[in-house]
């Protein structure tokens, strides 16, 4: 067993002298790309589902849509993300006869679909937390349900759930570490490659953990700052 300083030197050699950092930066970019775009898709899908699920259900169409959305949420929350990723890549792609050069778009879409299920529940809570009087006032001046929802209720709901959405982003950033299952070189894979020449992963994995930790701390700080700003904007 090598001493830690030897391991560290080997890591530095791989990281700097052999330009391993280029790979790591690329991996970092891909991790962030998947998490950010995944969250955006998730927010979009989640908001749509949440709106459908809180809609009044006098008519048949909202009732049917509600059932579909409920099924969607159960499906994506009831299976592991890895399995969804694998199915997306190995089952859906061949079934739809789509050729891709890299797994990144698949990862983005699958993470988006998955996160949509979680965001929809968060968003539903957010929408329910908005004073019903806001919707009533919108309807009373003649705005349709959808307009009142999108212009008045949802913006306030988003503000209420921003901290929780920040959490979802953190979960997503960390969970993207499974994309190597579909041959995407993300942050994890790029650090792993630094240890591959010597089969000693001690330092690369510790540094990997540190990188994730720093990212998460930065996001938390960013969310807190944003929260403060939003609060101020309505004072």
């Amino acid at each position: 067993m090598n001493s830690f300083s030897e391991m560290w030197q080997e890591f530095v050699k791989q990281f700097i002298t052999r330009k391993g950092y280029e790979n790591v930066l690329k991996g970092l970019g891909i991790t962030v790309e998947i998490a950010v775009l995944g969250l955006l898709i998730g927010i979009l899908i989640g908001t749509l589902i949440a709106v459908v699920r809180v809609m009044p259900k006098y008519k048949t169409l909202p009732r049917v849509l509600d059932k579909i959305c409920g099924g969607y949420v159960e499906l994506f929350r009831g299976t592991p993300m890895v399995v969804q990723l694998l199915i997306g890549y190995w089952v859906l792609l061949p079934a739809l006869d789509i050729q891709v050069n890299s797994g990144v778009p698949v990862a983005i879409i699958m993470f988006g679909l998955n996160s949509g299920a979680y965001v929809s529940e968060i968003m539903r809570g957010g929408i329910n937390s908005v004073d019903p009087g806001q919707m009533e006032a919108g309807r009373a001046v003649g705005l349709p349900y959808s307009t009142s929802m999108l212009k008045i209720v949802v913006p306030q709901a988003v503000k209420n759930i921003l901290p929780t959405l920040g959490n979802e982003f953190i979960v997503l950033i960390k969970e993207t570490s499974i994309v190597s299952f579909i041959a995407v070189t993300d942050l994890y894979k790029s650090f792993k490659q630094l240890g591959d020449p010597t089969y000693d992963y001690t330092v690369p994995y510790l540094m990997l953990a540190l990188t994730y930790l720093i990212m998460v701390l930065l996001i938390s700080a960013g969310v807190r700052a944003l929260e403060k700003k939003l609060k101020k904007s309505e004072r």
């Binding site: 009533e136 006032a137 919108g138 009373a140 001046v141 003649g142 904007s233 309505e234 004072r235």
Partner: protein
């Protein structure tokens, strides 16, 4: 002057017939009839739980009536197949809890609905013109396009101008760009009232507009409502302010157990109540 008012009173703005409302097994309204005439101020009083707020909220279908009809602009708006949004544009509503849009500035609160309606109508016209043009390609006799008298920017500018003049009227123009959370209850309610006015409604419904206010702010809201009444705005007011009802209303309705038990001029109703329940009620609140 009196002649004018009586002439105006002839036209019925909204007429309610046999309105019932049930929440599950609970019968809140048991057949209410009411004609609201142009320029008239109606006050609705009654003990809590008598259905007066529910009745008011049924008038613009915030609560869907269980039975009966509400004729407005020649249409029964209690009918679920009617596009209620179109009709609500012409029925203003002021809430007990103000319900200003928290995510919009004061000015945006007032502009939102007028801009929405203006832009929607403009876009509908543009859509129609598109199809007329499309059809004209295949016709010898070209059909004329619908005239577009305005643009979206113009609609917004007009709505903003109107919002500012409404704010000036209530002396709150310096609050145009602040969010509602910074305002006092009285200011919020006055803004809620001009928000309703911005749509040029044919009637405004007031749901206990001063009940959530600090006592010192009740006056400013009632003053604004008195002004509107003087200008001949048609108003239906659910209120606990008996003094206000007596002073402003042309007609006072006393509701109890989901029905209108007695109605008449303030002088008759307060001076010479006939219904036993009304006598009892008045003895407690006056």
């Amino acid at each position: 002057m009196i002649m004018e008012k009586e002439m105006a009173l002839n036209k019925t703005v909204l007429s309610v017939r046999g309105l019932t409302k049930k929440f599950g097994n609970l019968e809140v309204l048991r057949g209410v009839d009411l004609d609201i005439r142009d320029g008239e101020q109606i006050a609705i009083i009654g003990p809590s739980g008598c259905g007066k707020s529910t009745f008011l909220r049924c008038i613009n279908c915030m609560e869907d009536p269980s039975g009966g009809s509400i004729i407005f602009d020649g249409v029964d708006i209690a009918d679920m197949s009617v596009n209620i949004n179109k009709h609500r544009e012409h029925i203003g509503m002021v809430f007990q809890q103000f319900n200003l849009f928290n995510n919009k500035t004061v000015k945006e609160n007032i502009m939102l609905a007028p801009v929405y309606v203006g832009v929607r109508d403009l876009r509908a016209k543009k859509r129609k013109n598109f199809f007329i043009r499309l059809a004209n390609l295949f016709k010898k006799e070209k059909k004329a396009l619908l005239p577009l008298e305005t643009t979206e920017a113009e609609i917004k500018a007009k709505a903003e101008e109107n919002a500012m003049s409404l704010l000036r009227r209530i002396g709150l123009e310096e609050k145009a760009n602040v969010y509602p959370s910074t305002l006092s209850g009285g200011q919020k309610q006055r803004i809620a009232i001009v928000r309703a006015l911005a749509m040029n409604p044919e009637v405004i419904l007031f749901d206990e507009p001063t009940s959530a206010l600090d006592p010192e702010m009740v006056g400013e809201v009632l003053d604004l409502m008195k002004q509107l009444a003087k200008e001949g705005m048609t108003m239906v007011i659910v209120t606990h302010e008996m003094g206000f009802a007596r002073e402003v209303a042309d007609r006072v309705l006393f509701m109890d157990e989901g029905k209108i038990k007695e109605e008449g001029s303030p002088a008759e109703l307060f001076g010479n109540p006939k219904d036993a329940r009304l006598k009892d009620f008045l003895s407690k609140v006056l």
